[in-house]
């Protein structure tokens, strides 16, 4: 969206477009992707916008090629991105593992579709487990952020770029067709000029310096163990410095709901209904799914003994909540998989059942 005014403007924007525009605001000028529903607005928008601002758009022959082009552009020192959905992200897992192993920053936008297999294009949170557990081979994690509004699609994709660069690690923006296809008002300022990134490790040719090498093969005795522990240190730092969560109605809460992304919006409506009936329900919304807000869950459940996890899947985040819950608290689960969406009334019924 070429915005020539100097003041931030409020405008209606589709979630997927907000991600694409957010990436441009973050200084991303290289996009490599392959069509798949429900994320096609992203490559369509960028194929029109990138050439206008000196950027590069490549429609690759597959998601495998997309993620490897991203790896190449990242190694060359550029902020770069790809986007896809379930089957395409599955194909990218090898590349994401190599990005993590080679310690390269990159942003992967994941607009989920229901699975397994070809599944369908309806909204789901069934890919939580895949993205938060690494996804590809080896002992690694991706940074995972989950927006819950179109405004956050715009801002959190920028955070993804910053965190990816800060930690030299792939960052995934996980969302779904509800947010991707929904239009909401978004405040967008003028698109800034990309900032120069200080990446002395990047491959630029070794004129005037010793050669740079980017690799993930470590065959020397004990080398790989050292590398794995180095990654763990990075994840610990990430956990300490950049875990994000939102708390709503928590001041007087006697009952907590944990939900993320589009599902947390439905939960917000249900909490309003519950509060109208005198039920003191609060919401914890993890914004970073990796790192998971472990400490926050533990601290809150020390004094609030009941936790309901609501997800649009058969129960994936609930495991992360359970292992971090204080021993005095009980954890309940309500989920709708395969494109099923809970109504605020459905969730209210569950609140009453477990309250």
């Amino acid at each position: 969206m070429s915005d020539t005014t100097q003041q931030p403007q409020r405008q209606m924007m589709k979630g997927n477009v907000a991600i694409a525009e957010g990436a441009l605001h973050a200084g991303c000028r290289y996009y490599f992707g392959y069509p798949i529903t429900p994320q096609n607005d992203i490559p369509e928008y960028l194929s029109a916008e990138l050439p206008k601002c000196g950027g590069t758009f490549v429609q690759a022959e597959s998601e495998i090629a997309s993620i490897n082009m991203v790896l190449g552009a990242s190694a060359a020192g550029a902020r770069c991105m790809t986007s896809s959905s379930g089957p395409g992200i599955s194909l990218m897992q090898e590349g994401i593992s190599y990005l993590a192993g080679s310690e390269l920053p990159a942003v992967i936008v994941y607009v989920s579709r229901i699975g397994p297999g070809l599944g369908g294009i309806a909204p789901t949170q069934g890919d939580y487990k895949q993205v938060t557990s690494g996804g590809g081979h080896g002992d690694y994690y991706s940074i995972v952020l989950a927006p819950s509004s179109v405004q956050e699609m715009f801002s959190l994709v920028q955070t993804c770029f910053d965190l990816a660069d800060k930690y030299r690690n792939p960052a995934i923006l996980l969302t779904d067709a509800i947010l991707g296809q929904m239009k909401e008002p978004v405040i967008v300022g003028p698109r800034p000029e990309p900032k120069a990134q200080d990446k002395p490790w990047a491959l630029t040719g070794n004129q005037g310096r010793s050669k740079n090498l980017i690799k993930s093969l470590f065959l020397g005795d004990g080398e790989m163990e050292v590398q794995n522990w180095k990654l763990v240190e990075k994840y610990n730092r990430l956990k300490a410095e950049d875990t994000m969560a939102e708390e709503l109605w928590m001041d007087d809460a006697e009952f907590i709901i944990v939900a993320f992304g589009s599902c947390s919006r439905m939960v917000e409506s249900s909490i309003r209904l519950a509060r109208a009936q005198g039920l003191k329900v609060g919401l914890i919304r993890p914004i970073t799914l990796f790192p998971f807000p472990e400490k926050l869950i533990y601290e809150r459940t020390a004094s609030i003994a009941k936790v309901l996890v609501v997800e649009m899947n058969t129960g994936q985040m609930v495991k992360d909540v359970k292992v971090n819950t204080h021993k005095n608290a009980d954890v309940f689960f309500y989920g709708r998989p395969g494109g099923g969406m809970p109504t605020p009334e459905d969730i209210l019924e569950k609140i009453k059942e477990f309250y």
Binding site: Y30, F32, T56, V58, A60, E61, S62, I64, A65, S66, N68, M69, V70, L71, G72, A73, S74, A75, A76, G77, A78, C80, E94, G95, Y98, S102, L203, T204, G205, N206, Q207, G208, K211, N212, L213, I214, K215, S216, L217
Partner: protein, 257 residues
């Protein structure tokens, strides 16, 4: 006591870009020749300091141990996708991939064909030794009919295994590539031609002519279970008749159509 050597002019020396170390390659393998030819070419054009190499998986992965340039290690088969990413960012730099036949012609076929078809302006150095060398000599798409490997113990049969793929000829049918050649390093005369082809391929890139591709036939004495000399003979007598040497495409203008 030996006579003190008289002062002589250096007429030949190790290319500056070729690091002074021992290759890990087996005796009789041609990877060493190819590394040297690439290093010589980068030196001749004076571009080593602005070159980024992309190493495939297999015996070629240790490119960074031998060439004094920036190197990216690609996942198996994906080097042409990585090179696309690198070159799109650094249009003014020299980018090449260095890949074997398992890497390029099997798992990396799609990435190779599409990079060629897009006319990506980088160079591919493709070392074809008719099998997977580093993993222990398994059958590759380039394994000759009747050739015994560890996964074709009765010899490759077209029934079930298909026919050996001629990559250079296949890529030459596309509009994207600017230069496609096949050479060998089995004799001094052939090495001279291989050097010319590699120089031409990099020149095409320097002149922004688009995708250039040099296939180099190589012996793999260890996995062929032959000594160095006999394996060169086998290369001449069995590989060259199926994989003919020559230039399959050479474009004189950047826009072909």
């Amino acid at each position: 006591m030996a006579k003190p050597a008289e002062k002589m002019d250096a007429v030949f020396q190790r290319p500056e870009t070729l690091i002074d170390t021992n290759f890990h390659f087996c005796p009789g393998c041609n990877h060493g020749n190819v590394h040297k030819l690439v290093a010589e070419t980068l030196d001749e054009y004076g571009v080593a300091g602005k070159t980024i190499g992309v190493a495939g998986v297999g015996c070629c992965v240790f490119l960074y141990n031998y060439l004094n340039i920036d190197v990216l290690e690609a996942p198996h088969g994906r080097a042409c996708a990585e090179a696309t990413g690198v070159k799109r960012v650094h249009k003014d730099k020299i980018v090449f991939t260095y890949q074997g036949d398992g890497d390029l012609a099997a798992i990396g076929m799609a990435e190779t064909v599409h990079a060629a078809n897009r006319g990506e302006n980088f160079t591919v150095i493709f070392v074809n030794n008719s099998l997977y060398g580093m993993t222990g000599g398994q059958m590759a798409p380039t394994t000759l009919l009747g050739q015994k490997t560890t996964t074709s113990p009765y010899g490759r049969s077209h029934e079930g295994d298909g026919y050996p793929i001629r990559m250079a000829e296949m890529l030459a049918t596309l509009e994207g590539p600017s230069f496609v050649a096949r050479v060998a390093c089995d004799t001094p005369a052939h090495i001279v031609k291989a050097r010319q082809a590699i120089r031409k391929a990099f020149k095409m890139q320097i002149d922004n002519m688009g995708f250039s591709f040099v296939e180099i036939l190589s012996a793999c004495p260890t996995n062929w279970r032959l000594d160095a000399l006999t394996s060169q003979k086998k290369l001449q007598e069995e590989m060259v008749p199926y994989f003919p040497l020559g230039i399959f495409k050479e474009r004189s203008t950047a826009d072909y159509l």
